[in-house]
Amino acid sequence: MCLAVPGKVVEITGEGELRMGKVDFSGVQRQACLAYVPDVQLGDYVLVHVGFAISRIDEQAAQETLEALAEISALEEAEGEA
């Protein structure tokens, strides 16, 4: 029930409590309420849960996580060869 799926905001309408948008999940587009992510702009990624964006995906944090994973992979590879 806590499933939330990341998607890209491709349309924004309304404002405040009625801020809605269209979110693209790899080609499938759905309406979502954007009231809880007031700073989100077109092209941003959000986590959508039961029709509501509950969080904006922080691109910089995502990049840092992927870099940390790449670092672990590189180290393990080097140790495997050693």
Binding site: C33, V37, P38, Y45, L47, V50, I54, D58, A61, E76
Partner: protein, 367 residues
């Protein structure tokens, strides 16, 4: 899919597993709290990838599973009324009540609808002013902003035919209940990432300090989960016990302020009975008095309907991480998704459902 596929890379998975193997010097028991995480772990076989001295036990993070029988029976009583359109997430329909489930009410001609969002139920209330539209507001903190918005909009639009049957539960008080129980074996917790996307993780800090357990905010993809496990065992090996965020692309310490304001407006914290865990103080939400006109339990006067929990289902032990579903004598025999003894066998987040789906047949037979 962006922000998903990157966290499923097999080579990186092997590398993080190797790092975990190299880090661990002693046996450790970790609990992943969220049922969505349990399903990911079993689906991707991550428990089988981990070294034998890192044991994952499954937590109570399935709101459908912990909803008391009494609440299910009240839902069934309301849904059976001819003037009512009863809306619910799909998970809830097959959960057994004392005699029936919501699906049987629907089969008998009851107007029971599966909705994707509480806003769908609100739309039905607008379209059918002659019907009493009820939404079964089940969930953890993740779902609370959505359910709160539906109630808030109903009041703002004067939709007096819309009400909610509230069955909301809160994670931190349940963790305290688990950690303070006798004979507890849990040494670290993977905290539910999407709950924390809403609430942040300040409330977890006193829990980590009081019970001396590392708590790692963790996502749902294989690499998110493995990074959570790695961070937890690193803390355990170093003798640390603090809250650490391994899901920073979705979670910040203070959570989502706009969502939390709406929750504060619509709900008040209340005591809650958890199926399998019993009464836990301040572990749920009730509607705040100004929204009382939208409280289905008052509107339909079902508060007199009380029942006891059944004894044959051992879901309570499963939800506390004390019984592995496949070790239950009823598992896969008297209890199946078609004929469940309890909710953990039918919810999409239930641990028993996950074992039935992914671990029932021998590995070689499933390929």
């Amino acid at each position: 899919m962006r922000h998903v596929d990157e966290y499923r890379d097999p080579a990186a998975v092997r590398a993080v597993v190797e790092r975990i193997r190299a880090t661990v010097t002693r046996p450790w028991t970790l609990m992943e709290v969220c049922g969505g995480q349990t399903h990911s772990i079993l689906k991707f076989g991550m428990d089988e990838l981990l070294p034998g001295n890192v044991r994952l036990v499954h937590g109570p993070g399935c709101p459908v599973c912990v909803t008391p029988l009494e609440k299910i029976d009240r839902a069934i009583a309301i849904a059976s009324r001819p003037d009512t359109t009863f809306c619910s997430f799909g998970d809830m329909l097959r959960v057994p009540g004392s005699r029936d489930d919501l699906l049987k009410v629907k089969a008998r001609g009851g107007d029971v609808r599966i909705v994707y969002s509480p806003l769908d139920a609100l739309r039905l209330a607008r379209q059918h002013p002659d019907r009493k539209v009820v939404f079964f507001a089940v969930g953890f903190e993740t779902t609370a902003p959505a359910n709160a918005m539906a109630v808030h909009r109903a009041r703002a639009e004067g939709l007096s035919n819309f009400s909610v049957l509230v069955a909301h539960v809160l994670v931190p008080p349940a963790l305290e209940a688990l950690l303070s129980a006798e004979g507890v074996e849990i040494q670290a917790l993977l905290a539910p990432g999407h709950v924390c996307a809403v609430t942040g993780y300040r409330d977890y800090e006193p829990v980590a300090a009081r019970y001396r357990v590392p708590i790692v905010v963790t996502g749902f993809e294989p690499l998110d989960l493995l990074k959570g496990v790695l961070a937890a065992v690193e803390q355990l090996e170093r003798g640390e016990a603090r809250v650490e965020n391994q899901y920073p692309r979705a979670v910040v310490r203070d959570g989502n302020p706009a969502a939390l304001r709406m929750i504060d407006d619509v709900f008040v914290v209340s005591g809650r009975s958890w199926r399998g865990l019993g009464e836990i103080p301040r572990s749920g939400y009730a509607l705040s008095p100004k929204y009382a006109a939208h409280d289905a339990e008052a509107v339909f006067d079902v508060s007199g309907l009380t029942v006891k929990e059944p004894e044959e289902c051992r879901a309570g032990l499963v939800l506390q991480g004390r019984l592995r579903p496949s070790d239950c004598p009823e598992f896969g025999t008297r209890c199946t998704p078609e004929h469940p003894l309890g909710a953990t066998m039918v919810s999409s987040e239930g641990a028993c459902a996950a074992y039935f789906q992914y671990r029932r047949a021998p590995r070689e037979a499933t390929g």
